[in-house]
């Protein structure tokens, strides 16, 4: 029963959170993914406030952890829509119905091209000071340290290949 009450509370949170996010998106143009934190915090406050006189309230702190898990799933979904590599290949068929391999590479992401995605990701990691980007790409000391951690993490999770 306790499990069900936590799931119920988190379910209510989930609905409020998505509605609030969409409201912020349409009314205040919250288009950045980082801005989803605001509706997340607000919907938790709303759940807390409206459940405080109810029996279910004692499970609020337990539900908070599940709410965080819901938030991570939602952010992952938004990231997939916004940054998804494979998804963008499918959407490149919106305008052209038949394409060759090279044509897909050219029309990728509304005509930005497949090289653009590489440059975009390189600039992203350069901003974080993970790589040095002059004529050649080179790892910084921090990048080297991070790359070692990544290799170890891949070993721990038994990842052999890249997708």
């Amino acid at each position: 029963m306790t499990f069900l009450q936590i799931i119920l509370l988190s379910g209510i949170f989930g609905v409020i959170f998505v509605i609030l996010h969409l409201l912020f998106l349409y009314l205040i143009s919250f288009t950045k993914i980082i801005q989803t934190i605001f509706p997340f915090v607000l919907s938790n406050f709303i759940c807390f406030y409206f459940s405080k006189d109810l029996e279910i309230h004692k499970f609020f702190y337990d539900a908070l952890v599940i709410n965080f898990a819901i938030f991570v799933i939602y952010v992952e979904f938004l990231l997939l829509l916004k940054k998804g590599f494979t998804l963008t290949i499918i959407t490149s068929f919106k305008k052209k119905k038949k394409q060759s391999y090279n044509s897909i590479a050219k029309s990728y992401s509304n005509g930005k091209g497949s090289k653009w995605i590489l440059l975009d990701r390189l600039l992203g990691v350069k901003k974080l000071k993970i790589i040095k980007l002059n004529r050649k790409i080179a790892l910084s000391k921090f990048g080297y340290f991070l790359a070692v951690i990544l290799v170890l993490s891949r070993k721990i999770l038994s990842i052999k290949d890249f997708g």
Binding site: F3, L87, K98, K115, D120, R121, I137, F162
Partner: protein
């Protein structure tokens, strides 16, 4: 505390065994494994332990591990970093694009889409299959709901 450590270790050992036993351990297989693991461990928890903290821990652990795995398996930035670490020499952007990115990331993704039935291949041309068209409609709808003009 011990129960959490045991749960994580059990998860990792089982994951290692599955990766050794399966021919190609893809993200999809890992995803299915995490879902099954989460359901089974919580059924066990619900029947025998009735521990809410374990339920909370497993929920967050499963979501975060999927997030981390997806990054380590698919992220282009991670691929670049590991490539630079293992090759030990610097590379120009053009060279990296031609030798690594285009054939091993971009073309590979297109091939995966063909293999999974999202794209059909006729001679050198590729076009969306019925399944691909269905997904394109869903993506278009999701993009319009979230007011995303471009992706990538």
């Amino acid at each position: 505390m011990y129960i959490y450590l045991t749960a994580v270790l059990f998860f990792l050992i089982l994951n290692f065994l599955i990766s050794v036993l399966s021919k190609k351990y893809t993200y999809e297989k890992f995803f299915i494994y995490v879902i099954i693991y989460f359901i089974l461990i919580n059924v066990f928890n619900l029947i025998f332990l009735k521990d809410i903290n374990l339920f909370k821990f497993e929920a967050v652990f499963s979501v975060l591990i999927l997030f981390v795995y997806s990054g380590l398996y698919r992220s282009i930035s991670v691929k670049i970093m590991i490539y630079l670490l293992l090759k030990k020499n610097n590379i120009s952007i053009n060279e990296f694009y031609k030798k690594e990115f285009k054939p091993k990331s971009f073309d590979k993704r297109v091939k995966i889409l063909v293999d999974n039935g999202f794209l059909n291949k006729k001679n050198k041309d590729l076009f969306l299959s019925e399944r691909g068209k269905k997904y394109l409609k869903i993506f278009k709808l999701a993009h319009s709901i979230y007011r995303m003009k471009t992706s990538g």
